[in-house]
């Protein structure tokens, strides 16, 4: 058996894969958080609930209307994004003039409410969601067995992350978003509808969380609390990457997922806390985060 640093290569590769999978979700979710925080200055505590919402849209679309995974992949981000837009327009936008703490408290309350409603309606236990037929099975890579669905999640989430990065850094709409992040009043005085940009941005962030929820449904189970467990780690990812940095959020998401996976191989006892240890070290050495502007 091939050994690397005294560990069988299968175990190493297996955990590396788990790390990349987790990293994909960290990246998608912290990307949405970073986009929202960058423009709205709101720490979106409802992000985990919106991720859960995406998974439930996939599950219910299948159970109620027979709409399969591929429909859900399009439908769930739209539904969750629209829900986000409604929330932003009707409630969150009223808090911008107040201290940022109110936005945090509001989204935290929203998360508790959503999770409570779903727990009341569907119970706390997880429900399985089968991966689509085209993505079942696996591939033997020689040194390890790769379940096709997991490979799909890694590739697809990477494509989505790069697309969102390009949207923000390379397009005219993205230029408006970046400018509005710096000086919303001036941008609005140019005749750009900044309140509409804020709504779209929140919808984009929420939609990304919804998309992550659909991707997660076949891997983890669909349950009302699935977001709560994840979101704390994702906040740590955002802190390590640097608040408001788009590329930082993506790269840090994958890196920390892999770091967590590798820790499971070499020192399993620490795997649950390794991300928080890294966060503490980064906060001491580089308080603005690895990719933050102000060091």
């Amino acid at each position: 058996m091939t050994m690397v640093f005294g560990v069988p290569i299968q175990a190493l590769m297996g955990q590396l894969l788990v790390g990349l999978i987790n990293g994909s979700f960290y990246a998608l979710l912290s990307l949405g958080l970073a986009v929202i925080f960058g423009l709205l200055r709101v720490i979106n505590f409802a992000h985990g609930a919106q991720y859960m919402l995406g998974a439930f849209v996939a599950l219910l679309a299948l159970n109620w209307f027979g709409l399969n995974y591929w429909f859900a992949l399009i439908l769930a981000p739209l539904v969750v994004g629209l829900f986000g837009a409604l929330i932003e327009r009707s409630m969150l936008s009223r808090l911008y003039k107040l201290d940022h703490l109110y936005g945090l408290l509001f989204t935290f309350g929203l998360a508790l409410t959503l999770e409570g409603l779903f727990r009341w309606q569907f119970g706390a236990s997880g429900q399985p969601y089968a991966p689509p037929a085209a993505l079942t099975g696996g591939m033997n890579l020689g040194f390890m067995f790769l379940p096709i669905y997991r490979g799909w999640v890694i590739v697809f989430s990477l494509v989505v992350c790069i697309a969102v990065w390009a949207l923000i850094e390379k397009t005219q709409l993205g230029a408006k978003l970046r400018a509005a992040t710096e000086n919303p009043t001036l941008v609005q005085s140019f005749g750009i509808n900044v309140p509409m940009l804020l709504t779209l941005t929140y919808a984009l962030g929420a939609g990304l969380a919804g998309l992550a929820g659909v991707l997660a449904a076949p891997i983890y189970q669909v349950s009302p609390l699935m977001g709560t467990n994840l979101i704390i780690v994702v906040f740590a990812v955002v802190v390590v990457g640097g608040m408001g940095s788009i590329m930082g959020a993506i790269v840090t998401g994958y890196l920390l997922g892999v770091a967590e996976g590798l820790t499971k191989v070499f020192y399993p006892e620490a795997s649950n806390i390794v991300i928080f240890v890294i966060m503490a070290i980064v906060l001491i050495l580089r308080p603005a985060g690895l990719f933050g502007k102000e060091a």
Binding site: A175, R178, A179, E182, S189, F190, G191, I192, N193, V194
Partner: protein, 233 residues
Amino acid sequence: MTALLEVRDLHAWYGESHVLHGVNMHVNKGETVCILGRNGMGKTTTLRSIMGIVRKREGRITLGGQDLMAMALHRTARAGIGYVPEERGIFATLTVEENLMLPPQIASGGMTVDEIYRLFPNLEERRRSPGTKLSGGEQQMLAMARILRTGATTLLLDEPTEGLAPVIIDAIGEVLRELRKRGMTVVLVEQNFRFAAKVADRFYVMDHGQMSHEFPVGELAARMDMLHETLGV
């Protein structure tokens, strides 16, 4: 002749502090009007109130008969007006070209990008650099250029020469004269009245939130004593 831009009994506040105390002014189509005054007299606030950036305001502001007071901030520009702030407002996370293309076109008849690059060749050379890597003079040019692209026919210009070298100030004067030839209506806020004398048709002097004097450029020489006293220069 009715004025294009008309301001009547304008009051404005920053929080509790009452800054404008009944400003009256008008600007005719194609005219360049300069507001002189010491710091803190309300010149910038007047521009920001016309533009709708200062929202706590009372009185009447009309542009070509349209009531600007009733408009949301992002609608004001569509009435045909553009604002170049004193701090220039160049965005650091946008390239020079992205800064230039940022304000949406609000009317036809604005300068094309080619015309702008002919007028400001430095901007074309540096169009891929981040906006704030430009020199102060270039940033001022960019702040003006991006409004000229939009087709705005009225320009609010806040201290465009502040902190710039004489040769750059001359270049900005050249641009303003070119704009006047094209029929642009300009409201210019300046401390430097030697510069203003070369570009303005008419002057207002602002004192404690009101217009205290108004005179055409021809009377500038005769008003020097008053100006020295009011402006403290």
